[in-house]
Amino acid sequence: MADETTTGLSTDFGGRELTPGVAMLAATVAVISIVVGALLAAGGLTGHVFGAWKSPEALSSGLVGAAMLGVSPGLFAIGQAHVWEEARTLVYPLAVVILGLLAVSLLNAPKLQVAEGGGLLLVLFSLGWVAVLGVLAVCAVVCLFLQYLRPRVPLGDRIVPLPGWSKPLLAVLGSAWFGIGSGLLVIPQFWAGFVPWSVNRPDAQALGVWALALGVGILGALAEDDLSRVRPALLALPGVAIALSIVLGVRASEVGWTSGPGLSLIAMVGGLFAAGVIGRWYLSRRPMPQP
């Protein structure tokens, strides 16, 4: 049932009403992410390559699984949003991940387990991976289209603007993730050299999709410039950072920590955590608007 704690506001501040389709898409992806992410992350943690395609190491698929697990709380929080503008900073990255992973899977189809052959479980997983991503991709496009058909009330002034000191830092953090993500996705054979462990082409591009999505989310939050509208993203960022850190920590021996890329990775993952935690703390200290 609706209540004022759903959005934290007793009045709305404009924007488009969030459609049930977008909320359902987020919740469905969250459930799938927990189940599939747990499988991939468990494989990564135990050193077993478990994924839709063959990989030289288990770390990459483990990190993809960790990111899926870490983002789930944020995806569930989308259901509490009232308007689209409270959810879009996480929904856009969600769409990037779904469409991006589907594209990577199809572009690297000859490297999928079903094409290269392997254990039955991995073959069936790769078939299911492509099928589920395909269905989710169609749903994502349809849901976003229907969302934008909703009438828009002009947005009011920002409720809790980002503190000024945080904006350059967020710009650097978002650009870093966006940049490395774009590079890995578009020119994996070059940019894979900047990943401090062994990756093949599909691994590099899948990691690139996730990095790109993180960049889109952070830069989107910067553009939104209102902490009250980025609650789901503020929940997702530390979740992803913690999950990535656990997998990287357990498989630390496989990572070139002392290299430039290794140090950058530490800074970028740390930046995710700091952005989410500080953002949530700052938001909790600000009073909510009165009607």
């Binding site: 049932m1 609706a2 759903t6 506001l9 007793s10 009045t11 709305d12 501040f13 404009g14 009403e17 969030l18 459609t19 049930p20 389709g21 909320a23 359902m24 919740a27 469905t28 459930v31 927990i34 189940v35 259901g79 009232h82 079903v114 052959g117 392997g118 254990g119 039955l120 479980l121 073959v123 069936l124 078939l127 009330v153 002009p154 947005l155 009011g156 002034d157 920002r158 409720i159 809790v160 600000r286 009073p287 909510m288 608007p289 009165q290 009607p291």
Partner: protein, 391 residues
Amino acid sequence: MNRPGRPAWRRAAAIAVVAACVGYAPIAMTELWPYAHPGAPALGEWLLSHVVSPRYVAEAAATRIGPYGRSLLPMIVHSVLGGVLMVLGPIQLLSAVRRRTRLHRAMGVVFALTVYASMVGAALYLGRTAPRDAFSGPAFWIVLATILAGTVLSVTFGIFAAVGRFPDLHQRWMLLCYGFLMTAPLLRIEWGVLPWLFPGLSMADINRLAIMHLGSVVAFGALAVSRTIDGRVTASGVVGTWVPMPVLAVAHLAGGFALVWIIRSYLGWGADGLRLLVAYLVPYIATYVIMVVAARRAGRAGRIWAREEWRLHLAGLCLAPVLSACAALPFERYMGLDARTALSAGVAIGCGVMAFAATAVVSLRIMYGRELTKRRTLTARHPRRVAAPVA
């Protein structure tokens, strides 16, 4: 969740299921003892040897010494915890029906952890046992693996539903989970009963017959209990149908083609193929007829939600032969199975997998309806106007 109906047959059915579960518990717990200590008493073996014959049991047990010996501890964990689950299941169902919420929640945690632990034992056994070494062959290995996945996923989704405050979905997923667990006692019952219908067959042959309908029977049982408990005329926010006539027609058409192909395949495999086909078709047709009749009755009585749920599951049942036919391809190619075994494996898992898929679609339906209602209520309660910013 509504209370179960009062008709006497429902009460009798509930008592019978609880009795079967509780009666099977000691059988499950003692099943592996003879493999740990030769000569140790095993209630199940004793019963079967008296119901059928000692030779019937001894022949089967002789083939199990190797595979079970390699995974004895995991199998003991799996079977003992499986017996515990046979007792916990009725406790959960009765505590839910009688609204003993605290007991239900407390025992629910125990139930979920026991399921996960039991399935870890099963996974270790399957991982260490080559499909050809499974009892009665690779098709049974595939069925066990599918039941394992279905059990773990349904209990997980049941937990999600409980945490998300969807009691109706929680009930459906947990009933499906328990249905998958019930394949164990059901299989033992069939080991004892089917030899009377098909005398002279070994337990391995009886097992191959039983798996042709095991999944469909337990999944239908879970659905039947769900429908009995859920007496709602409509569900919140559920309008229209996700299974209009054209969709149902396409499902029937596709399923019909696949079924014809399956029938022709089995008829080409002699008497053994005919037996397997009968073991598949009789429960399938019975389930189909019940679903069609139930959907029509619900529609005529104006019970919109019941009709919708029956139709969703009916569509899943129609598509089961399609999945079975498609699944046979990777089984044949990636497991090196012959066409007959691959098709039998596909047929054995088809109905159960599609029942799982139908339950997932039912869940999405309910969740979407609730989301729709929530957003409409939100809009009605919070008129849209621009807020003043914080000073």
